[in-house]
Symmetry: C2
Subunit: 167 residues, 2 copies
Amino acid sequence: MEFSDAKNKFVQTWGALGSQWGINKTMAQIHALLMVSADALSMEDIMEELQISRGNASMNLRALMDWGIVYKEYKAGERREFFSAEKDLDELAVKIAQERSKREIKPALKVLKEVSSTVSDTSQEAKHFTEQTTKLYDFVLKADNMLEKVTEYKDNWLARLVVKIMK
Amino acid sequence: MEFSDAKNKFVQTWGALGSQWGINKTMAQIHALLMVSADALSMEDIMEELQISRGNASMNLRALMDWGIVYKEYKAGERREFFSAEKDLDELAVKIAQERSKREIKPALKVLKEVSSTVSDTSQEAKHFTEQTTKLYDFVLKADNMLEKVTEYKDNWLARLVVKIMK
DNA sequence: AATATATTTCATTTATTTTTGAAAGTTCAA
DNA sequence: TTGAACTTTCAAAAATAAATGAAATATATT
């Protein structure tokens, strides 16, 4: 396969995968592009390669930087900014896990705790509700804690985990 | 909090969480509703409670059944169908992991393998691309294998995992 | 301080996804 | 075998999300 075709295929696939996980397509594509670029790209480069507008590029680059998985770079004698992606995959996984925990899981836990502990109604229905949401709270909390622990390993957590699980 | 308010809050939150993970809101809401319902609900019940159309209910129930996390039930002397959710959380997690692996990760792996192994171009750019996509392939494969292993434990994999990781 | 270059913002447009609802399809009972 | 009860399908409508592009803002250069 031609290099350019392969790159394109990879970027498209990564973009599609992103949407299936609630990440907007362009954001995932920019990330993919930066991941496989040997050196940092300017906004112009990204716009050109993905055929997107300046505003779109700007907003999604900002979002990727907020996630902590894309960095700004400055080149000597260059006025414009360049961007590069976190290329260490362990680090990438950790960052994504941390952000998802902070943005989505933690707030959900808060609600789960609230609804599982404030229903005083004694009907069968209400009892079942409280029981089930309590279980869910415990489960999600445990999963979230696991994510946090995994994150502390930083390097090679996945490999370590695989070893532990396999045995 | 009133039972009905709590239930509503839970259903809404679960729905919002779903969208952030690429699952449509109504599908997540139906699932949430069934999770906390003491007994199976008819399509009519679900339409009523969530204020959605018949078509919407039908399609999302089908999707949930395809995921293997909602079941049809038949009641003696009742013509219409009833639905209930998988309430065992370990089982639920396993099912979701399996489906996501099958639908999204496996196809992505296929593409990663292809693009990482068919670029013959010898430019620096192309070399970097091949190197990076190969790493990504290895990483995703390892993660997917882990998911599979975890799945084999069936019961209490999460608790076990937490114990292993903590120590 | 004026100008040129680069980036961000955001109201509007466009694209995508989800929902509706009515017609077609099933199933069962009389 | 007819028809009532229920479910599914799918074209069209509605809702939501994402992208555009031009004006505003910021930053550097002369």
